[in-house]
Symmetry: C2
Subunit: 121 residues, 2 copies
DNA sequence: AGAATACTGAGCCATATGGTTCAGTATCTA
DNA sequence: TAGATACTGAACCATATGGCTCAGTATTCT
């Protein structure tokens, strides 16, 4: 499960690290769209957009279906739950470290009061 | 601000897209560490780890300070707030789309009831 | 049927990434 | 002072990424 999650986080964070792809997700959040429509909206060739959609699809963030000659893209099955979880856990760690730092600072101040420091160099 | 945020999200999601770097962040959440200590822990050369730390530092996720010959790494100033915000907003979009889909399904079912298909039932 | 549309796939190009080695420099420690 | 330690920087390597063009195929429109 750790392995599984690792690859999953790798893929989704990588997918999210490109502004165009984030834009595509936001667009698909508003309405489904064809590859051509997305390519137009993001000022890019059809082929270029197809690659981006491929990356998003690989990461499970987009699902596509071809009907006739049009491939329609919509938001995929993943809700980025694990990703949010990871971030939340990180923030928790961060806050804890920050509190510790606060504590150290407070301790230093207290020591300073007890025995004032000598001249700094 | 949109521009600024775009580059920032690009950098932090890219930084998070590597399992080693996520591991480094988790480690630093537990305690500060030197480059050597991190390199050992993640079975990698010093130089390799230095690159990872550089990426994290560039993204503002890690801060380092060199004292004597040792460079100590600790969690950086950023708490990934914008990143969490982006993800939450995405999930909201996703939920909305899902609800719409639900609605469509409900509508279809209702129509089915009004004019039932001949064959079944 | 013929033309336009929508995608697909191969492949090119420049740059970035994740790792390495090797050769330093700076700083401890005995 | 000599040697070990900790980092630094350059350079190499293989692969991935983000774009592109070009040449298709399949579908739809007139």
């Amino acid at each position: 499960m750790a392995q599984y999650s690792r690859a999953r986080l790798d893929a989704s964070f990588a997918a999210l690290s490109d502004a165009t792809r984030r834009g595509v997700l936001e667009q698909l959040g508003r309405s489904d769209a064809s590859i051509t429509a997305l390519a137009d909206k993001f000022h890019m060739t059809l082929t270029g957009m197809k690659k981006h959609v491929g990356v998003l699809e690989q990461a499970g963030l987009v699902a596509t279906e071809k009907v006739g000659r049009v491939r329609t893209c919509r938001l995929g099955p993943r809700r980025l739950e694990e990703e949010v979880e990871w971030l939340e856990r990180y923030r928790q760690l961060w806050d804890t470290r920050f509190d510790e730092l606060d504590h150290v600072v407070a301790e230093l101040k207290q020591r300073e009061m007890l025995s004032p420091p000598k001249k700094r160099k």
